[in-house]
Symmetry: C2
Subunit: 326 residues, 2 copies
Amino acid sequence: MEFNLSAGMFSSEEKFSPLDTAKTYDVLILGGGPAGLTAAVYCMRKGVSTGIIVKEIGGQVALTAGIENYMGYRHINGVELVDKFREQVVQFGIDYDEGASIASIEAGEVKRVKLEDGRVFSARALIVATGKSWRKLEVPGEEELTGLGVAYCTTCDGPFYTGKDVIVVGGGNSGLEAAIDLARIASSVTVVQFLDRLTGDRILIDKMKGFENVRVLYETEVTSINGSEEVESVSVRNRKNGAVDEIHAKGIFIEIGLVPNSGFAKGFLKLNEAGEIMVDCACRTSVPGIFAAGDVTDVPFKQIIIAGGEGAKAALSACNYVLQKS
Amino acid sequence: MEFNLSAGMFSSEEKFSPLDTAKTYDVLILGGGPAGLTAAVYCMRKGVSTGIIVKEIGGQVALTAGIENYMGYRHINGVELVDKFREQVVQFGIDYDEGASIASIEAGEVKRVKLEDGRVFSARALIVATGKSWRKLEVPGEEELTGLGVAYCTTCDGPFYTGKDVIVVGGGNSGLEAAIDLARIASSVTVVQFLDRLTGDRILIDKMKGFENVRVLYETEVTSINGSEEVESVSVRNRKNGAVDEIHAKGIFIEIGLVPNSGFAKGFLKLNEAGEIMVDCACRTSVPGIFAAGDVTDVPFKQIIIAGGEGAKAALSACNYVLQKS
């Protein structure tokens, strides 16, 4: 039994098998970003029966304008790279489900995954690769101009703003690191901070202040991001005196944090303070037979190639687990 | 100052800067496989001064016939993929040295790397990514037919032998895992074991014996690998009675271990029993400011995308270290 996917990115000729509620899979993968898709390729090549539950194919990668730090491509955009990853998974005719959210998971010799639409799937091993979501400003223009000047990742997108004026939103460690990274290459960096002080590490604050082309606007919030084809300016409001201003900029980096998509694992898998699933260097979680990979975990640094590597590790760990049990 | 590289794989038009013995680099990378090259891209993009010392560009990848498990390419050969990785490094005009072996490294606020030709280079942080070398049989035909039926990695090359007769050399865990992997897809698997018993884990031995298409030849050694364009047969000799035989096979997987290229680090960095450099999940070694990534480390599973991910982690850890010190 096969069906056509309706998602826009997919060609109507491509077919997957639907996930089967009656089957016990060897490995069930939760998540369709770089970690989940890499895990899928590794599991399928190992010949274990595999299913994958994807909310949004590509995860954060699909939101990235240009990628220059994924090895093998000097330059590729996020959607193109996701498409290549997906093609590699599709060729194996994997059992696939897209769109639903995970409600809860249950351990035991056979693990169960309950979706919010009520369906329940079973597997001997799970790989949780549900990623993180960027915390959004939720102001007018943000969504429309994402990838057109609105960015969330300086390591990925910073170099595109060489010699340009940019804004960084957020005065915590992510914001400071972004400002330091950008100060070396951008013409000017304006840090917009909601509070009356920076909340990041002293060492980062000092380092940032060493750059003459960085300024900080305290007690300030972004009210809208403006531009038709690309970002042209950002409107801000002083929270103390209500004064409004419009700052001309080609790029705005929103660095107000990421939210791990781990809600369904709370009280079940061991999470750190940030809500990330804790794993060892072989991607094992606190529950035997449940593995995790990529940005939803406490692995340091969030990058496509790192998530891919972690996905491969989790898959090989899960396959070893299944083979030893069978 | 720039010079042309002489290595065959390089176009004569490509230029690098030579490594400078008078300079103290921020980061010096040792090794030019997937981990080292990925680390180089990440360091250069961070804007820290970076040098790379490569013995053989591409490492084990350059020896792999076809790669189907590197995300982004459904199928690519090893040399092509190495070439793409290298291109990505070259674009930054990195300081580069190729061909020399590392004699020793020295710690301190500034780390020193001594090459066997006597040159000494300095850096604030080091990334050791010198990889592993496959242990070779060293029999006639092995070198000539590498990539043409002689293989070292079942995860990489196994699927190319679907429905064919293959030989696995080695009765330890790697050999047993290779035989189990191949038994599912190959027509027949002959395991050639030097000793009178298998030395791998019981669980793997039992699992392998469950396959009817696997046989083991004990106390047997390979004397030559035969074929003109590709592997056609393998000659073996019984070590007990001296009987010789010729086994027809399309593939021979040599699974007698890998040797980490960590000799220069002995007694200096903490190594495990296998001689691998021990690292934490952020690629830190036992010496502050020295990071390690890829197959030379104790990271589980040796795969291109895993090495790439570890290289990125090591680079970001090294950059953080350098920025905090400066």
